[in-house]
């Protein structure tokens, strides 16, 4: 049974989706989604413990031996990302019922759940597969589902945002396939481990370099690497609350995972980092994202879009570790996959509650006035998650920042240290706009908290921000294992 878990992980949500469509009942859809999400979390936890004790292991799909058949492979990195995705899913799913009921007509709600399950299946599939083409298929499963999730938003702008995202996402995925195709032409294999072996010694061939470029840009589009991030703010701002929370916490993170996998386990990191300006490129792009996107967030008036810009900046933190290319930096990056997922998840879940109670389609910073009185618990949760976004010690965000700073100091890249610190100070500025509005400006309306289920999910995630700041045995230990795993091949 245990050896089939990697497949089961993907199959469960994949099967749940058509069942939900057949049943058409919102209630059944919600139950199935929640059950599947929890099951995925259990499976991910089991896989992670197994990897931690016994080491990486692989699963031959349909018993076709790799490299001919499709291989599912669970190692320290993929186990960590699996847990991060499944953890978010298990908070979003219980939250979904009230949120979706409030934002969609009863006859369309089941579609939302079905798409959510498909998206989950795709994201988990990307993480677990060991085959480059299979990865593309899962990438498109999750992406197509997320386009629909966004298009289901209440305002018509959601349609345009989804369309733009779809164009850019498809171009990104196609770039990725072009890269994989070139690699296939050179090596004749699609299995990632096999690819790595056969690429040794031919890294300087032009098709391989072209493949690297296509894959970088393609995945860069998917993960919103600055300056390929234009789709993100609108997509997050207009999507339904639950979709924003889920996508912000998982989708871009899984794409970062793909990039890490290609950079450190498929291509030869020695060739990649020493003979090409990879380090400089990633440092420059990440720092630009951290500073510029944060500045945009400071002047943004719409709250969801403000945090979407903040996401672009935080993705800069995550890609920074690639540019630092050392253990501390990568630990910070990988830990931030989870830390930022939890933080942004909490923020968007709580904002969903605010949107529900205010009844407006968009929340401006000004309309948060008096939130501390109207929805004290929600406001408090937002403050906690905001502090984690800033990176205050005792929150998850601090852990990331600490490791990134250590990594930058180790490289003696002092300007990067300065950029990390400057970016967190800018984060103070945009978080504090909300705090001032919520607590120091009088607002109208009576006291009315978000529905209990939504509030509980949001607060629980905000609680996780604090938990991961004090007890780092899950996030940092896992990330540190994953970083060691990535660097093992490198040096």
């Amino acid at each position: 049974m245990v050896e089939h878990l990697p497949a089961l992980q993907v199959v469960l949500p994949l099967v749940a989706a058509p069942l939900i469509v057949l049943a058409r009942s919102p209630r059944f859809a919600w139950l199935a989604t929640t059950a599947v999400s929890y099951a995925c979390l259990v499976i991910a936890a089991l896989l992670a413990t197994r990897v931690a004790t016994l080491g990486a292991f692989s699963y031959a799909l349909g018993s076709w031996a790799p490299p001919w058949g499709i291989e599912y492979r669970v190692d320290a990195l993929s186990a960590f990302v699996l847990v991060a995705v499944a953890l978010t899913a298990s908070f979003v799913a219980p939250y979904a019922r009230r949120s979706i009921a409030a934002e969609l007509d009863a006859d369309r709600q089941y579609l939302m759940y079905a798409m959510y399950c498909l998206c989950l299946a795709g994201l988990l599939g990307i993480t677990v597969t060991g085959d480059a083409f299979n990865l593309f298929v899962f990438l498109e499963i999750s992406s197509l589902a997320s386009y629909v999730l966004i298009a289901l938003g209440r305002r018509r702008q959601a349609l345009v945002a989804a369309f733009q995202y779809m164009l850019m996402g498809t171009v990104g995925a196609t770039f990725y396939v072009i890269g994989v195709g070139l690699l296939y032409l050179v090596t004749g294999t699609l299995n990632l481990a096999d690819l790595a072996e056969r690429l040794r010694g031919v890294e300087d061939l032009r098709p391989v370099l072209a493949a690297l470029a296509f894959i970088t840009v393609g995945i860069g589009l998917k993960l919103a690497l600055f300056p390929l991030h234009q789709w993100l703010p609108n997509a997050y701002a207009y999507a339904p609350s639950m979709a924003t929370a889920f996508l912000a916490a998982t989708a871009t993170k899984v794409s970062v995972y793909v990039l890490l996998r290609f950079y450190f386990t498929v291509f030869d990191p020695a060739a990649l980092f020493d003979r090409l300006p990879t380090r400089e490129t990633f440092l420059a792009l990440s720092v630009a994202a951290m500073i510029l996107a944060s500045l945009v967030a400071v002047f943004e008036r719409e709250v969801k879009r403000l945090f979407a810009w903040s996401s672009v900046a935080q993705i800069g933190y995550i890609t920074l570790g690639i540019g630092l290319e050392n253990h501390a930096g990568l630990t910070g990056s990988i830990a931030h996959l989870l830390n930022h997922g939890v933080t942004k998840g909490a923020i968007f879940l709580l904002l969903g509650g605010v949107a529900l109670r205010s009844g407006a389609a968009s929340i401006s910073v000004g309309s948060l006035a008096g939130l501390g009185r109207r929805m004290p618990l929600t406001a408090f949760g937002l403050v906690i998650a905001g502090l984690s976004l800033i990176g205050v010690p005792g929150t998850a965000g601090f852990v990331t920042k600490w490791f990134l700073i250590l990594g930058a100091i180790e490289r003696e890249a002092w300007w990067v240290v300065g950029a990390i610190l400057a970016s967190s100070l800018i984060a103070v500025a945009y978080v504090w706009r909300l705090v001032e509005a919520a607590y120091l400006r009088a607002g109208q309306g009576t006291r009315r908290e978000a529905p209990a289920g939504m509030l509980a999910a949001g607060l629980a995630m905000a609680g996780l921000c604090v938990y991961f700041g004090f007890f780092t045995s899950i996030n940092v230990a896992g990330a540190s294992d994953a970083a060691s795993f990535l660097l093992r091949g490198a040096r």
Partner: protein, 477 residues
């Protein structure tokens, strides 16, 4: 056990206070009981420390290899004693002030107050630099709602300055300083003799020292002192306990900790050789600003800036005598300055006066308040029979021992300046005839008067019975 209690009492008190928000009497009783309990707890720990023990405790894992570690050493003990003892007194005072002025959001006020004390105690007990930093930042954030308590435009503006300066300094300087220390020294545990000794030299050491000295913005070294006057928009009990005792003392306490336990006394002298000059400049410049300030709380705030720099100056000279002086001054200034702020709050509550120039003749209407004010002023100047004399004595001896003539000159000059801006207030109050005033008022509500008389008495007591704080301070050097 007692160590865990010391952190948990104020934290639990905050929760309880929040729970009793519909019953003000119970709420304030909880607040006072917690303060008394905390003081008892710290005092019993203090007995252990005097006998040479170092109680310690570790929990959680902030980063791999870094527990949330607590260890009580003499300086921390002194700071914790002062903070917890004065929490009780200012708890009594707050009741009078908050009710006397019909302040809003009183529950939030008491909750944040208790949390701030938890933060200060956490700073005092921290066993490694990371734990200290954690509580240091915690203190910044929980005091923000207190600073912006009034919720109007001046409060928002003051709050912004407060937060911006404290966070800019701690994030931009202190955090990288810690990371560099970890990178070079491989440890962040406070160790007698220091972490960095012998691993760094010359300009690099001085640079790192500068990152620490300016990173700890709560110590209000110029030019990072502006948050302190900005914080004066807060209700007076906050200014009294937090911005004369808990928060600012957490700043200078951290600096002394870093000098003694991160750099080490021997090595620190080299790295911090420049610090007496900055501190000396801060002392003089802040005193001159105070001299010109007409707003009473503003004058007190700048006096605090200058008095904090005393502690930094004494710590930076790095002779055993001056370290003792620094430790004592943490306590002595706390007692004296809280008295002065209590008096300012009492004047505001009873007479609604905020400017120095309005105080003519008030001494006859509020004799207790102004008598206490006079004692506090004497302590600031450093004259007997007030506690400030004891600490100043040790600082001067330390400067002499080190033959640091600049420090000596600063101490002498600032004493004159202190006298220059405090004595006129006392003179106005008692000897200038009152303006024809329609307001008929006497003293402030009795809890406030009781509190300020108590702290004034403590100021004198610390002069008369200086041996307990002295014994603690001597264990340090």
């Amino acid at each position: 056990m007692m160590l865990a209690l010391s952190i948990l009492i104020p934290a639990a008190a905050a929760a309880l206070i929040a729970a009793c928000h519909r019953r003000p009497n119970l709420r304030e009783a909880v607040s006072l009981a917690a303060a008394a309990g905390l003081f008892a707890c710290v005092a019993s720990l203090g007995g252990d420390v005097l006998r040479g023990a170092r109680p310690s405790l570790a929990a959680g894992e902030i980063l791999p290899g870094f527990a949330l570690a607590f260890e009580l050493e003499p300086l921390g003990c002194l700071f914790a004693l002062v903070a917890s003892g004065l929490w009780f007194v200012s708890g009594v005072y707050s009741i009078g002030y908050m009710r006397g002025n019909d302040e809003r959001h009183q529950t939030r006020f008491y909750v944040c107050f208790a949390l701030a004390i938890a933060g200060a105690i956490g700073v005092a007990l921290a066993g490694n630099l990371l734990t200290l930093y954690l509580f240091y930042e915690f203190l910044t954030f929980v005091t923000y709602p207190l600073v912006t308590h009034h919720g109007d435009e001046p409060a928002r503006r003051g709050g912004r300055t407060y937060l911006a300066l404290l966070l800019v300094s701690s994030m931009l300087f202190l955090l990288p300083a810690m990371a560099i220390t970890w990178w070079i020294g491989g440890s962040l545990d406070f160790a007698p003799g220091g972490i960095l000794a012998g691993k760094l030299s010359g300009p690099a050491a001085a640079g790192l020292a500068a990152l620490y000295a300016f990173g700890i913005g709560k110590a209000a070294l110029m030019p990072l002192h502006r948050w302190l006057p900005a914080a004066m928009v807060a209700p007076t009990p906050v200014s009294a306990l937090l911005h004369a005792v808990a928060v600012v003392k957490a700043g200078v306490f951290s600096i002394v900790k870093v000098v003694v336990y991160v750099f080490g006394i021997g090595f620190g002298a080299e790295a911090f050789a420049w610090l007496p000059w900055v501190a000396g400049f801060t002392i003089i410049a802040a005193s001159i600003v105070a001299l010109r300030a007409d707003n009473l709380k503003r004058r007190l705030a700048y006096s605090t800036v200058s008095q904090l720099a005393y502690v930094v100056l004494a710590a930076a000279i790095l002779t055993p005598l001056s370290i003792v002086g620094a430790a004592l001054h943490i306590a002595a200034h706390a007692l004296g300055k809280i008295t002065l702020f209590f008096a300012a709050g009492a004047i505001y509550t009873a007479a609604h006066k905020t400017e120095v120039s309005q105080l003519d003749g008030l001494g006859r209407r509020m004799p207790w308040t102004f008598a206490a004010f006079a004692i506090g002023a004497l302590s600031m100047i450093g004259l007997p029979p007030a506690a400030g004399f004891v600490s100043k004595w040790f600082m001067v001896s330390g400067a002499l021992a080190a033959q640091h003539w600049f420090a000596l000159a600063v101490l002498v000059a600032s004493t004159l300046l202190n006298a220059g801006y405090f004595l006129p207030i006392v003179y106005r109050a008692f000897f200038v005839p009152a303006l024809p005033d329609d307001a008929r008022h006497g003293e402030a509500p009795w809890p406030m008067v009781a509190a300020l008389v108590a702290t004034a008495a403590l100021t004198v007591a610390m002069f008369v019975w200086a041996d307990v704080p002295l014994a603690l301070a001597r264990r340090l050097a």
